[in-house]
Symmetry: C2
Subunit: 756 residues, 2 copies
């Protein structure tokens, strides 16, 4: 599958070769970080790159790598790592497999029984689809459904249904006088990352946690189960990690440093990110008898799913016993690392990665993303065969043990932190792909690069660019405004939370990062189950692999533009805009919280809740809350304004150099490059965020109570959400200082461009 | 159950007796239409009234009247009418039973089978709850579930699921290329009055219609089925009329005149309000195999209910056969009419009514409302025993045959139209009652009366007035603003659509009306089913009948204040405010429609839908629509302003008279009274609304495509909704003229008060 990329009509004949080729006539640079001549060379390069892409490779590699289960520590995971490493070598990369030794508990005993009011022994067996070509291999080598890093335990208690198990759900329970202390909770997937559910349950005093996928969100409600349809089979289960990832990903026994063979390890008891209570995921087939056995009040309407029973909260009369034991073993994690040295800036690294380990056979997650790294590396290898070399160093990676806790990437980043801190320009991550719309999240300093790239890649199903297709979708779905979009012509990227291998790069070290993938039109309930297979993928996710090719075109451009740009393709007006938006949000949120608190307290004091509530329903008014103080946002607003000004000035200065109005010596350019690509480090606070020092980025972090979901300006935002006013004050100052530091770096860079 | 009504502290010692007792000191009248002296007398009267109310009567009468099925034409319906009539007589009312002869088809053959892809014969049997004390009587005398005024027919066709069967649902089908022509549709209850579903289906070319209650809206999703819980049993069915009521209620064979014994009758073929296709309601137990047999695309998420299957649209492979035949018989409808002559204004009538017929035994609908009329009449009879007489004539009514099509009340109103037009001051309707919050809809000229009444009756479950409890509920649910409510101190009433016996009074003749009932905390899925029994009611709806008493307190005050006020208690600032709100709405709706049309057409023209839609899903972009022209709303805005001015002037003039600043001769008062209570007639347009001349009120009407739901300024609003721009123009003028006429009457009244 190849599509020609349209070439801008006003492109002048380009001049190849020179590091900085300046043009005589001033005009808007068409490609961020490139002079017009370099841009023309780049377009030619990308056309050659595209010409090498082969859809058959994607299909063959996916088929081969998903033949058998390849979870971390499995034989097939090592085979796949070796396979990938051999290919990288074949394509001309200096390749090594770097091994870490990480804690990955696997289940030894899994038992769940309803013992009152009647006996039901949960099957806890996830079949593979008989019709699927890999069903036998799954039966023989697959891990059964479990939550990694659950505690061992044998608990018996009354059951309570807690909806999605979020803090707000427990507020609802409290209003009904229901306490989960000493109980076992039943939570449905959704609303947060799964690890939040047992974490909050444990905080609330629960002694066990069961997670099930409700068929409303993931099952027959959406369509037929696999293999008749794409969706979740009644007995299918979503596995997954429940380590306390919002506190810290990576090996629990080697915090902040690489889990090398001889590394010091803390004890299991000291490992704070291991869950405190036993927790098990089950199918809805197993959840139904539990739900059916619950009494007590009917659950609020938003808590009800699609199982054919009245959803009740309990506690009891259902009593369940949950018994779990794990093998707490270290396993080897095989990271494949392949390098192609930069010809001009060898110490400026562009890193591109995806993980190769899966929960079972993982066709979609992770192999549909992994093969995009491989085909991208192969195509660039083809370019190199002609004598071409990237200006900056390229590093392709295949991470192991992402599924348990981003282990492979985190250990690698921790182990190489110093060098990465000095040399990493950017990290580009993928983690699965399907038919649909382009999704890019990342550092906003790279937003312009993302936008230009998205306008340069043609959507396989329509005749427009993937950027335009996404914009049409946003317009039709009402998530974008027609007139604004028409004016802006732009393409916004989202902020990154967590849940994939960019986390250590971005949030621990402050390396500008992307996470990229197509999706939205692939169908399926295969996620982290036995049903995420080649057969499923090629029926329901991206049958022709044409979106695989599109992903390779997007990631190839991002990589190659980062590698080839005259000046690293960062544009700080994107950062300024995003930060301005986030600042506006936290200010507005505080005002809204103040108003809401006043109103709600007023309603409580006025007796309105007491009058409005049905006296027979036994629901209490909510609790009164302390009033919201006024917070001094001035430092943040000032920092925001300075950043906006400096970002504009940098953009003007950059343009002057790129269009040839000014020139730059080689020495000063090296200095400039460093300032530019290291700029994101300004957002790193050495001491990290409150209660989780590993997460050090003051602009982007996963939510402490959302898990994967991003919280921008996390120190401020979460303090306000949690009503920790002193902490909010402190983090307004800290965040403002970081933004000011960032703005100062931008100013330094602009001065170099201006020849000062 | 009795509670003392708090008396305002600033009430001065009152002077009883005189028709218009004027006070020396000017102050705000505490009771609309009353001088302070009269108001004090009225409070005393209401206290006496309350002291006569007996909760045991409510329980006894409900028990007795719900012993056996009492649908229109049944033996028990006649027995109940006789029973009520005897009581009215006993209490001192001049009572008669006025009989009309109305068409009420009952089922002879009901058959529904799935014949492809496999056979399923629908049970169509609604059991009665064995544990219920009336289950045997229901089995022996009850009508099976059916839709009254369905066509006879025997049709076989592919099945299509059409969600709620609303016009917007058919737009969704059209976007999927699905046509119901020649098909049988399956629609779920909800979203509109049930009769809209077969009506729209027939307009779309369907040849049959099946309606079921989805357990999500009405069944296990809410709680346990009766008798374990209050909610719908899997085999329970909602019966009900599907006559084309938005066109005209009442006997289909005697349009616009009373269905007396010798009346001319049109033929069945000429009767335009009889449904054109066969239509049958079924339980979800019977619906499940049909839904499960449907193929085709998965239904949009908002279309899916709680049955444990994937909701698909079809058409087919399910093929069903529906065979229905009815006995097209005339039945006698026994209206009970009881009068107590007014002592001062005998030709000014206050009418209070509820229907007595049910679908089965009807404890909640209608008996819980009927007994409030009876106990109210009894208590007023007690007052009369002391020699007291109402100033205006009171008429208590018990309507028959409301369920099929508001037959009893409509025929009575049509038959007595001339006299009612001259003499009726107001009609107060109830139609069922349960625990919860006060609901009042009605003519806004009586809004102040409703508000004062609601503040004067104490809620049985809290220590505040029913008005305050409702306000607290609105505040807590966010449907009212705290600061605004605190300032206003008021209590707004809603506008009336249709669905009960006020329709002919209000919308055919322009008699100011109320519909009143408590609700929101009674639980149940008993509506129009075998499960609406005394046992169910006393377990789940209003076990102590304390809300029955509250209803009698509210309706008693409304009746007695209307009867006793010095000047009829109309206050036109309420009308002015409501009309101003409605005018704002239609203007805003037009602007919004214009903007939405432009935006949507822009998205279609820009190709955004084509790009955004999944090419594999076979969903088409919506159709382009003609642009929305600018409509000349000036006449409406001018009429609104004049009304506001005149209503204010009337209020000032009335106050001056009531506080004794001015006086009024007896002659002029009689003239004034007539103008005031007939004012609502100004909104009547002789020719009626487009396509439904029976509905003649230009401010309130049921929606042509919603059924019960109100459309205010219906001629304008529905023309805009249906994009009939010429009709919208015409009805802006007609409605403005009616409002101007109303304003002129107010001005006439004010001039009389001012002694001009």
């Amino acid at each position: 599958m190849k599509k020609k990329i349209p070439i801008c009509k006003h492109v002048l004949a380009g001049v190849l070769g020179a590091a900085l080729a300046y043009m005589a006539v001033a005009q808007e640079p068409a490609m961020v970080g490139f002079s017009e001549a370099s841009a023309q060379a780049q377009r030619n390069l990308e056309e050659q790159y595209d010409s090498h892409l082969k859809v058959q490779n994607l299909r063959d590699w996916m088929k081969q790598m998903t033949e058998r289960p390849h979870h971390a520590g499995s034989a097939k995971a090592k085979e796949n790592a070796d396979f990938i490493a051999e290919l990288f070598k074949e394509w001309g990369y200096k390749t090594e497999i770097e091994v870490f030794h990480v804690l990955f508990p696997t289940p030894r005993i899994r038992k769940l029984s309803l013992i009152e009011p009647e006996r039901y022994d949960a099957k806890l067996l996830e079949p593979a689809a008989e019709a699927d070509s890999v069903s036998l291999a799954i039966k023989e080598e697959g891990l059964p459904p479990f939550n990694a890093y659950s505690a061992d335990g044998d608990v018996t208690a009354e059951l309570v249904y807690v909806n999605q198990g979020l803090p707000s759900d427990y507020e609802e329970l409290e209003r009904r006088g229901i306490d989960v202390k000493g109980k076992i909770v039943l939570a449905q997937y959704g609303g947060s990352w799964r690890g939040i559910k047992p974490k909050v349950a444990a905080e609330m005093g629960a002694i066990g946690c069961i997670i099930y996928n409700d068929p409303k969100a993931d099952g027959f409600y959406e369509g037929d189960g696999y293999p008749e349809g794409a969706f979740k089979h009644p007995a299918a289960v979503q596995r997954g990690s429940i380590m306390d990832l919002p506190v810290r990903p990576g090996d629990p026994l080697t915090p902040n440093y690489g889990a090398t063979k001889g590394a010091n390890r803390i004890s299991l008891q000291e490992a704070e990110t291991i869950m405190k209570i036993p927790c098990l995921p089950i199918s809805y087939e197993d959840a139904l008898p539990l739900m059916d056995a619950l009494g007590g009040p009917v659950a609020p309407e938003t808590w009800r799913g699609a199982m054919p029973v009245t959803y009740r909260i309990g506690p009891g009369p259902a009593i369940v016993r949950l018994k779990l034991e794990f093998n707490w073993d270290l396993v080897p994690a095989y990271n494949v690392i392949a390098r192609m040295e930069g010809s001009i800036f060898p110490d400026e690294w562009i890193i591109r990665g995806n993980h190769h380990d899966a929960w079972v056979v993982g066709a979609s997650d992770p192999i549909s993303g992994m093969i995009s790294v491989m085909e991208q590396a192969r195509a660039i290898g083809e370019l190199a065969k002609t004598g071409w070399r990237p200006k900056r160093t390229l590093i392709f990676t295949a991470w192991d043990a992402e599924e348990p806790a981003l282990l492979g990437s985190t250990e690698w980043v921790e182990h190489h932190a110093e060098e990465l801190n000095a040399k990493a320009v950017a990290y580009i991550n993928t983690d699965g792909n399907s038919r649909g719309f382009l999704g890019i999240g990342g550092s906003h300093a790279l937003e312009r690069l993302a936008s230009e790239t998205a306008f340069a890649v043609v959507d396989p199903q329509t005749s427009v660019s993937v950027a335009e297709r996404l914009r049409s979708s946003r317009l039709v779905n009402g998530t974008a405004d027609q007139k604004k979009e028409a004016k802006a012509g732009g393409f916004g990227i989202s902020a990154l939370g967590s849940g994939s291998d960019y986390s250590a790069f971005l949030q621990h070290l402050g390396i500008a990062s992307f996470n990229v993938g197509f999706g939205g039109e692939g169908r399926g309930g295969e996620y982290h189950s036995n049903f995420d297979t080649f057969d499923h993928y090629t029926q329901y996710k991206d049958p022709t692999f044409e979106y695989g090719i599109a992903l390779i075109q997007v990631c190839g451009r991002l990589t190659l533009r980062l590698a080839q740009a005259d000046i690293p393709p960062f544009q700080f007006t994107g950062t300024a805009r995003a930060i301005s938006e986030y600042v506006g949000e936290v200010v507005e949120m505080t005002e809204k919280k103040r108003k809401d608190t006043e109103e709600r307290n007023g309603l409580i004091d006025g007796g309105h809740y007491a009058r409005a509530l049905d006296p027979k329903e036994n629901v209490r008014p909510p609790k009164k809350e302390d009033p919201v103080p006024h917070i001094n946002f001035a430092p943040l607003l000032n920092a925001r304004d300075t950043l906006a000004k400096n970002a504009d000035a940098y953009e003007k200065a950059l343009k002057a150099v790129l269009v040839g109005e000014k020139t730059l010596s080689t020495d000063r350019q090296a200095e400039l490059n460093k300032i530019v690509y290291r700029s994101e480090r300004a957002f790193i606070r050495e001491e990290g965020l409150p209660r989780r020092p590993w997460f050090r980025h003051l602009i982007y972090a996963p939510g402490y109570y959302t898990g994967y979901g991003v919280k921008t300006l996390p120190g401020i935002r979460e303090a306000i959400e949690e009503r920790s006013w002193n902490e909010a004050d402190a983090f307004v100052d800290l965040t403002a200082a970081a933004i000011s530091k960032f703005a100062k770096e931008i100013d330094r860079a602009a001065r170099i461009l201006n020849g000062e």
